[in-house]
């Protein structure tokens, strides 16, 4: 029953999309700048249908309707209600529904919020967006249907992978999807702009807020994923350069480049084609990421069951998008003459874009290189953190310096004030860095350069705040984002240098000592919970002043039967103590991994502040328009 209802709604959505395309096309030929009411209505009905369809699937998960294969494979009747709901998008089929929801809601909102723009541009955007929606709906219906029935109906489901049963992972996919699926709207708008020759600066105002909003959510999504990895995967790290993490980072670089260059486009009517290329690139990279993750072509911690036919479908879709947009771009491309002054703001924004492209290409190469060697030479290799760390971090130093001084350059003019002031700021940064070295007695050239440049950015941002407040032209969003990015790099740098990691095999009653720390294994308990059993260890960490009790767990989930290791983390403003424990077969020893990670909470907070900066800019734009 539920299967038929779901399929009916999916089918109805396709029909609605086709009708929107048909009506928009008809409306295009009419004179006047008016869009008929029917298109608005249809667009609203379509979003509603897709949402109802998604809620139907959620309902099936809540009542544990195992007549649907997706529910059977990803849920269990004993699972807490919260995870029944979040399980809806914790799998390939359900998450594609989320894709389509965001595609259609963004499509509707774009239509109603851009009334000041030419009709042709709006309708073409709507048409392209609906072509994307149809593409994904067909993919869902033919290949990844969450409403596929299962018969005979099993009595019990297989359950959701326990490491996905986590509040952070409940919100991680929706946040990330608003980010990279949201970028579809400026992909569509860019194509519409090319076709309708709508290349004036007003085009920028139609998409800039969408870029900001998708960028903010993308950043938050990546942050939540990192936080989850930090406390759930038990390695004590928060970024692993895993192909799937990289896949989320690629569109992020393109978005970041985009919302900087669009400022120039809006102010100076420059870089039109570059902005278009970035718009196209962002969504194409999002789909590429989806292809890499879902086709199973790469191995990664994100173990969505893979299926080659999925890969073929997404790859065909991707090829169509790439060749379609490249051909269109070639047809419309006109050489633009840039007469930029060396020290103007335009140049600095362009520099930002070069850096973003450099990072993008580096991460893209590292991510797809293994596929190339495997496909072309049958060599299986993997590209790990050393590659990225070696290439990316040294460049960050220069990047941060540009990030500090760029915003203060003026438009058009080739004039740069306050060189002396910047020297004194640099001096200040070096002094603070020296204090850090003396205080902690730890030194490495690269990390000190990174810390100096991060401090330089922070101090410059503070200076900007004070100066612009006096002049009453405060750009708070930018200052917060840039400054917080400086803090982020600073905290990551300090965290990297001052982390401590120790490995021991211990049994109850033992005490291990190192430096001025002692770790005592005090107790072991067995506890029963609704959907798992836990072996809970009790450890006392003493560092000469404070005593902390840490209780890492080994959990035995019943459905599906899985063992997970839960880290115990004591967070304070200065540092985290991080302890994981795993059992050793046939012995009463446990393997203990203790880590001290300084300033973790500040890393998360810096990212949130970066996002707040972006959102401030978004609200400011929204108010002005």
């Amino acid at each position: 029953m539920i299967s038929n209802f779901g399929n009916l709604l999916l089918f109805a959505s396709i029909v609605l999309s086709l009708s929107i395309i048909y009506l928009s096309n008809k409306n295009l030929k009419l004179n006047g700048n008016q869009i008929t009411k029917h298109i608005f209505q249809l667009s609203l009905i379509q979003s509603t249908t897709v949402i109802i369809c998604f809620f139907t699937l959620i309902a099936a998960f809540i009542v544990s309707d195992f007549s649907l294969i997706t529910v059977y494979q990803n849920s269990h009747s004993m699972k807490p209600i919260f995870y029944k709901i979040t399980g809806t998008w914790g799998n390939h089929e359900g998450s594609l529904m989320l894709w389509v929801i965001i595609l259609s809601i963004f499509s509707f909102l774009f239509l109603i919020y851009n009334k000041n723009h030419p009709k042709k541009f709006r309708l073409l955007t709507l048409i392209i967006q609906n072509i994307l929606i149809i593409g994904f709906l067909f993919f869902i219906l033919l290949n990844s249907n969450p409403f596929s029935p299962l018969s005979p109906i099993p009595k019990e489901g297989l359950g959701l992978n326990p490491i996905l049963q986590d509040p952070a992972l409940a919100i991680h996919p929706p946040l990330l999807y608003i980010g990279f699926v949201g970028s579809s709207i400026y992909f569509s708008a860019a194509i519409a702009s090319l076709i309708s020759n709508y290349s004036e600066k007003n085009f920028a105002s139609s998409i800039k807020n969408w870029i900001l909003i998708s960028w903010s959510f993308q950043t938050l999504g990546i942050l939540v994923g990192s936080i989850w990895a930090y406390y759930e995967l038990g390695w004590g790290g928060f970024w692993f350069w895993d192909p799937v993490e990289n896949a989320s980072l690629l569109p992020w670089f393109a978005m970041t480049a985009l919302f900087h260059s669009i400022i120039v486009f809006e102010k100076r009517n420059l870089f039109y084609f570059w902005v278009i290329i970035l718009c196209l690139m962002t969504f194409i990279l999002s789909v590429t990421g989806t292809f890499l993750v879902r086709s199973g072509i790469l191995n990664s911690v994100h173990t969505f069951a893979s299926d080659p036919t999925r890969g073929i479908y997404i790859l065909s879709f991707l090829s169509l998008m790439i060749f379609g947009s490249v051909f269109l771009l070639f047809k419309k491309y006109k050489t633009e003459n840039y007469n930029l002054n060396q020290n103007s703001k335009e140049t600095f924004v362009l520099v930002n874009n070069w850096f973003m492209m450099f990072y993008l290409v580096t991460v893209l190469l590292g991510t797809i290189y293994p596929i190339f060697t495997d496909a072309l030479s049958q060599n299986k290799i993997s590209v790990g953190p050393p590659f990225y760390n070696a290439i990316i971090f040294p460049v960050v130093v220069i990047f941060l310096i540009f990030m500090s001084i760029g915003p203060n350059a003026s438009w058009i003019k080739n004039k740069f004030d306050n060189i002396k002031l910047y020297f004194s700021i640099l001096l200040g940064a070096i002094l603070i860095n020296l204090m850090i070295i003396l205080f902690f007695k730890n030194f490495s050239i690269l990390s000190n350069f990174i810390i100096i440049s991060a401090l330089f950015l922070i101090l410059s941002s503070i200076k900007d705040f004070v100066v612009s407040k006096k002049k009453n032209n405060l750009d708070l969003g930018r200052i917060i984002s840039h400054g917080s990015f400086g803090f982020l790099v600073l905290f990551i740098g300090l965290n990297y240098i001052f982390s401590i990691e120790k490995d021991y095999n211990m049994k109850i009653g033992e005490i291990k000592k190192f430096d001025n720390y002692s770790i005592e294994f005090k107790n072991l308990e067995l506890k029963d919970f609704t959907n798992y059993q836990a072996v809970v260890g009790e450890f006392e960490i003493f560092n000469g002043k404070d005593r902390n009790i840490l209780k890492p767990e080994i959990r035995i989930y019943s459905n599906p039967k899985t063992l997970t290791y839960e880290a115990s983390i004591k967070t304070s403003f200065i540092k985290d103590h991080y302890l994981t424990m795993s059992n050793i077969d046939r012995s009463d020893y446990y393997n203990i991994k203790f880590q001290e990670k300084p300033l973790m909470i500040w890393i998360w907070l810096s990212v949130i502040m970066v996002v707040i900066g972006g959102l401030l800019r978004f609200f400011k734009n929204a108010k002005n328009s």
């Binding site: 005979p152 297989l158 790859l315 490249v326 070639f330 596929i371 496909a375 072309l376």
Partner: protein, 171 residues
């Protein structure tokens, strides 16, 4: 000049996409396409209910054998199960079930619930023997003749068409 640049850009995209395509279809270690018309490998799996071993030689006495890889945790296996039950009525073919990476208790419950189509039930608890057959996902079935030559391999659940095909071959 511009033309050359455009062509190069297109070629780069074409190259990347083709590599993706090849990557999707590349031969992995586990591919069994090349096993068709070849003799099956030597293998040794234990029975589901006892600790004796079942090997290649035990298959020689059957005219045709269908080796079916399944598990209680595999949803498509449920889908194909009624077809296997129907196939088990065929006199000219024996069905050997290989229970793949499963718990004995759950496997038994599965067969009690849905019926047992297997003439011989065996288990491959760690999945290593199945690798010899190139199994990388289940369900998969391999049809072999008396000479132990692989006639056909079915990836994924058996369909009505596969059923007719098998019946046609073993007639």
């Amino acid at each position: 000049m511009q033309k050359i640049v455009k062509t190069i850009i297109l070629l780069i995209f074409l190259f990347i996409l083709s590599v993706f395509f090849i990557g999707l279809n590349r031969d992995t270690n586990y591919n069994t396409a090349n096993q068709i018309n070849k003799e099956i490998p030597d293998f040794k799996v234990s029975y589901l209910n006892k600790e004796n071993f079942f090997t290649k030689n035990d298959l020689r006495k059957n005219n045709f054998t269908l080796i079916n890889f399944w598990a209680s945790w595999c949803a498509p296996c449920r889908v194909e199960h009624p077809l296997l039950i129907r196939l088990s009525e065929e006199k000219n073919m024996k069905i050997v079930g290989v229970n793949f990476k499963d718990k004995k208790e759950q496997a038994k419950n599965f067969l009690d619930e849905l019926g047992n189509p297997y003439d011989v039930s065996t288990k491959d608890t760690n999945g290593k023997q199945s690798v010899l057959f190139g199994i990388y996902g289940i369900p998969e079935s391999i049809l072999i003749n008396k000479e132990l030559i692989v006639i056909k391999k079915f990836v994924g659940p058996l369909s009505e068409n596969d059923l007719n095909y098998i019946k046609e071959i073993i007639k």
